[in-house]
């Protein structure tokens, strides 16, 4: 009997907090998405799938989807490629390890512990369009015209992706390094005996043996590609601009809800985001699944 009291007592508070602040909002979100709710004082009508119909006819929704598509391909690809290269250089499976490998790993990981919003503000200054920005200041010294990193329609999203990569690479260097360290040395020795070069060794041995870790990294980065809120909100001009060039679903949700009080529509966008994330995770797991290599 005391056992049951103990179990209930220990579960009561965590479950209550979780139900009130997590589960109930998630359930309500699906309901609100089917209404035209605009705030506490105004009425609430059930409008069926109207919000979703409006969403599919809305340009900024498709703009956000396009941006997510770019993010989803470019950001993980760049991050993983750089992280794999650095991890491989640091671990140097053949021959002696690089001098100062520990130092590199510490510095590479550093941006990971900084708040995304703070990083956004920092890069706003780095990207300034005139000589007072770090990059343009350097370009002007070299006699090159300054570039509107955040104001140029075609460049703005790429500038934001660069910041994401800057911040994310270190985490994956550490992750992949741990994976590479677990690959037994004699596999490499055998490859060296067979006369395999560095590149061949990387593509034929390291990468296949590391595949599961890379897959985990890909899912993490993909999920991050569906967020992007803090960086876009802080860094881009007009929170998603210029002219929607950097907008993401999260920004649209925030604007519609807390800017225009379109709570029904914002919730519908949230539902769309949820299904997109879920689809991505499911598809990635299907596509990248491979035979596990046992060693």
């Amino acid at each position: 009997m005391r056992r049951h009291g103990f179990v209930a007592g220990f579960l009561l508070l965590p479950v209550a907090v979780y139900l009130v602040f997590v589960i109930s909002p998630y359930v309500q979100a699906f309901q609100i998405a089917l209404t035209d709710w605009r705030g506490v004082s105004s009425g609430l009508n059930f409008v069926g799938l109207d919000n979703f119909r409006r969403m599919f006819g809305n340009d900024s929704f498709w703009q956000a989807i396009r941006n997510h598509a770019v993010l989803l391909v470019a950001m993980p690809l760049a991050t993983i490629a750089l992280a794999l290269a650095f991890a491989y250089l640091l671990n140097a499976p053949q021959g002696r390890p690089v001098r100062g490998a520990g130092f590199y790993r510490v510095v590479f990981f550093l941006p990971q512990v900084l708040a995304v919003a703070v990083v956004g503000v920092l890069f706003k200054a780095v990207y300034r369009p005139d000589a007072s920005g770090v990059i343009n200041g350097a370009l002007i010294q070299l006699g090159i015209e300054p570039v509107g990193w955040l104001t140029d329609q075609t460049l703005a999203l790429w500038s934001i992706i660069a910041v994401m990569v800057w911040q994310g690479v270190g985490f994956y260097v550490v992750l992949f390094s741990a994976g590479m360290a677990a690959i037994p040395k004699d596999v490499y020795e055998a490859a060296a005996l067979d006369g395999a070069g560095r590149l061949t060794t990387f593509f034929r041995i390291t990468l296949p043996l590391l595949w599961e870790t890379v897959q985990v990294g890909w899912i993490y980065l993909g999920i991050a590609a569906f967020d992007g809120f803090a960086l876009v909100n802080v860094l881009s001009v007009e929170q998603g601009g210029p002219d929607g060039a950097t907008t993401v679903l999260a920004t649209e949700i925030y604007k519609n809800a807390f800017g225009y009080s379109r709570f029904g529509y914002a919730s519908a966008l949230g539902v769309a985001l949820f299904f997109l994330t879920l689809t991505f995770a499911a598809v990635t797991m299907r596509v990248t699944r491979r035979e596990r290599i046992v060693y």
């Binding site: 103990f6 007592g9 965590p14 690089v98 512990v113 503000v121 925030y254 807390f258």
Partner: protein, 272 residues
């Protein structure tokens, strides 16, 4: 040849990471004129008054203090509630065990943005908008899924014999948990504490939504973002850079001191 190239590539990335941070630190000592001049020049003198203005007039001191308070109670609450739930779920059999576990774990699959609108009204309905209590409760709630998931598998891995011995010696369930099992779970608890401290310290979206009005309640990420948006050309840019430096420096120092723990704490979630 190959080794030289490797060193060069690694050094370039080090430079790319450190340069913006060092540049921000230098800019915090510049005058407004220097900031809008050539970016690559050094400050003429060390203007500490920029730091004083940031701390007092731009209320960075207030924001940092608020953040410390919220994160302290947020993480303490997260760890306490998560380990209680995880312990019971991992080591006691009762009807509904699997359902509750699944409920917690499924929280990891949902994006916060989906819950945003109703969450705002739930917190508002409880009268907790613009209050640190509300933000702390929400931080705890949204940290539960991952923390419970991780700790449950940790508690499952602990040997049964010790708990049984404690019970035979007459310790109650509660006592066994706090004095025997919790100390044994220390490595897992340390990793997750670090994970949650960083996550909650860096949170931007939730404070933005849940502390919308009263500026004196704001946390640091909100404050910094706000200083930068209101900072037009006539604004106090040196103070903004001082504010940024003050925010980044303690984090960098803490990171260097605890880097081993932090790296393993953050990556352990991914390797599982």
């Amino acid at each position: 040849m190959g080794r030289k190239l490797a060193q060069a590539l690694l050094a370039i990335w080090v430079l790319l990471i450190i340069a913006p941070l060092v540049w921000t630190l230098l800019a915090s000592f510049k005058s407004n004129a220097e900031i809008f001049g050539d970016a690559l020049q050094l400050p003429g003198e060390l203007r500490w008054d920029n730091w004083v203005r940031a701390w007092e007039k731009a209320s960075v001191g207030r924001y940092l203090l608020n953040t410390v308070i919220v994160v302290f109670f947020g993480v303490a609450g997260t760890m306490l509630l998560s380990s209680m739930a995880a312990y019971v779920l991992a080591r006691y059999r009762f009807p509904g065990n699997r359902l509750i576990y699944f409920l917690f774990v499924s929280g990891m699959a949902f994006p916060v943005f989906l819950a945003l609108v109703p969450l705002f009204f739930v917190v508002d309905g409880l009268g907790l908008l613009d209050s640190h209590v509300g933000l702390v409760l929400v931080y705890i709630a949204y940290s539960l899924p991952f923390t419970v998931f991780f700790l449950t598998s940790f508690f499952r891995g602990l040997p049964d014999a010790v708990a049984e011995a404690a019970m035979i010696d007459g310790a109650s369930h509660t006592r066994t948990f706090f004095q025997v099992m919790l100390p044994m779970a220390k490595p897992g608890l340390v990793s997750l504490t670090i994970f949650n401290v960083l996550g909650q310290w860096n949170q931007y979206l939730l404070p933005l939504v849940l502390l919308p009005g009263d500026k004196s309640t704001w946390v640091i990420t909100q404050g910094i973002a706000d200083i930068s948006t209101i900072a037009g050309y006539e604004a106090d840019w040196p103070a903004l850079f001082a504010a940024l430096s003050m925010t980044v420096l303690p984090v960098v120092v803490a990171y260097i001191v605890f880097q081993r723990h932090i790296q393993s704490g953050l990556t352990s979630g991914a390797v599982k």
